[in-house]
Subunit: 251 residues, 2 copies
């Protein structure tokens, strides 16, 4: 397959290296990734300033293209201006950190894959649910497995798979579950500090508020319970039940 | 009502001024908005660098707080650290530019309102579908009208109203339609230029590819046809039909 690889941790991250190494054993790969880390950048795109493209080498040979923008920018300019072909599939990752539950909204990794879905290209986002991942090789195997699964079974236009993998040794992973997006969200805490010049600044920290009445059919809880979660997501944000209710109003 | 106002065009934009002026005639308003323009920033949040908060005056008196981050940051830090109260409603806007169809995904305006919805606070995003809006006063009236409508009728937790208003004289607007998100999307074109030092750079431009088989029950087409569109949106991105289909697979 022709596979376009993107991520949000940047072209120098370990996760994208592991993904590229594994996929190039069986596929024709193209890498277009952000020049710098773009975590939590959401589905930002760059419109008010121009973009630049850089050729990147690894171990003395050509590795891919870096773009000084977001994951969504990389997909747009990567397909339209750099590759000038449509890949069979786009794989975004492997992300260092969970993109389950509310993180789907904030995630640059997911938005890279979603930008491909907007262009009707099948796509997968792959993340490991830990902020200090030592080994991405099992996650890279999973990415490769799902590339074939998507090729065989297809995805509707506009839908992508958001895969989150517990950061556990392979033998401790209980299996794969097709899941829904958990409604668990962050309890935000801003830690206030004072700079050397006497001015306040604030760091975002926080902990997850686990949504009640959810089980391991939801991505976040599947991961907590040792399962790989596979959540099909799309970008039609319409809330159809409220749409029906509000239809009846007189304005 | 206690209304928190945010936007993505920044605290110095005309749209937020018009909104604040209109709402303060009837409500207790709080303004927490980005220090600089954050258009197309999506649902980005700031985690890897700290935030700063600035008090902003207008015409010699206190107007609100500026945050050197994104619309979503403004809601998070605004409610948790600046206001320390929960507003009755959050209104994001008034945006200079359409946030219908695929722009919902890229929009900072929508993500400001959505961050409030994530916190279970009723919220509304308001945009005028033109990039050169001369007069926001009618849009400000619509925002005020919907603040009352949401108060009376409620919104489910996690749902917000995304309102787009054609940039037409009030008497030419045909009415209000409750709509779905159009699947129309951008045909991206990157315009290549050469800087004074001989290096290439790329500006994103493009035109809308109108989705076939849609009518004015979809936000983008409602606006084109002279209607105000009101689309209830939520942040459960699960594609339930693919979820059902993939449940049957053996992994």
């Amino acid at each position: 397959m022709k596979i376009l690889i993107v991520n949000d941790d940047g072209i120098n991250s370990k996760g994208i290296m592991a993904l590229a190494k594994r996929l190039q054993m069986e596929h024709e790969i193209y890498v277009v990734a952000p020049l710098t880390e773009q975590s939590a950048v959401g589905h930002a795109i760059t419109m008010k300033i121009p973009l630049r493209i850089f050729k990147i080498e690894r171990e003395g040979s050509f590795f891919g293209y870096a773009v000084d923008g977001t994951p969504a920018d990389c997909i747009k300019i990567g397909i339209r201006n750099i590759l000038k072909i449509t890949p069979d599939i786009v794989i975004s990752g492997i992300n260092n950190g969970s993109n389950a539950a509310i993180n789907v909204i904030y995630s640059g990794t997911v938005s890279g894959a979603r930008e491909a879905a907007i262009m009707n290209i099948p796509s997968i986002a792959v993340s490991v649910a830990s902020h200090d991942v030592k080994d991405f090789s099992f996650a890279a195997e999973i990415a490769n497995k799902f590339a074939y699964l998507v090729k065989e079974n297809g995805l509707p236009n506009g839908t992508l798979l958001n895969i989150n993998i517990p950061d556990l040794p392979k033998q401790k992973i209980k299996g794969i579950k097709v899941t829904r997006q958990s409604m668990s969200r962050w309890d935000d805490v801003y830690e206030k500090r004072v700079d050397p010049y006497g001015k306040d600044y604030y760091w975002l920290t926080g902990s997850m508020i686990e949504h009640p009445n959810e089980n391991d059919s939801f991505d976040y809880f599947a991961n907590l319970n040792g399962y790989i979660s596979v959540t099909p997501i799309h970008f039609d944000l319409t809330d159809y039940s409220t749409f029906e209710k509000y239809q009846n109003f007189e304005f």
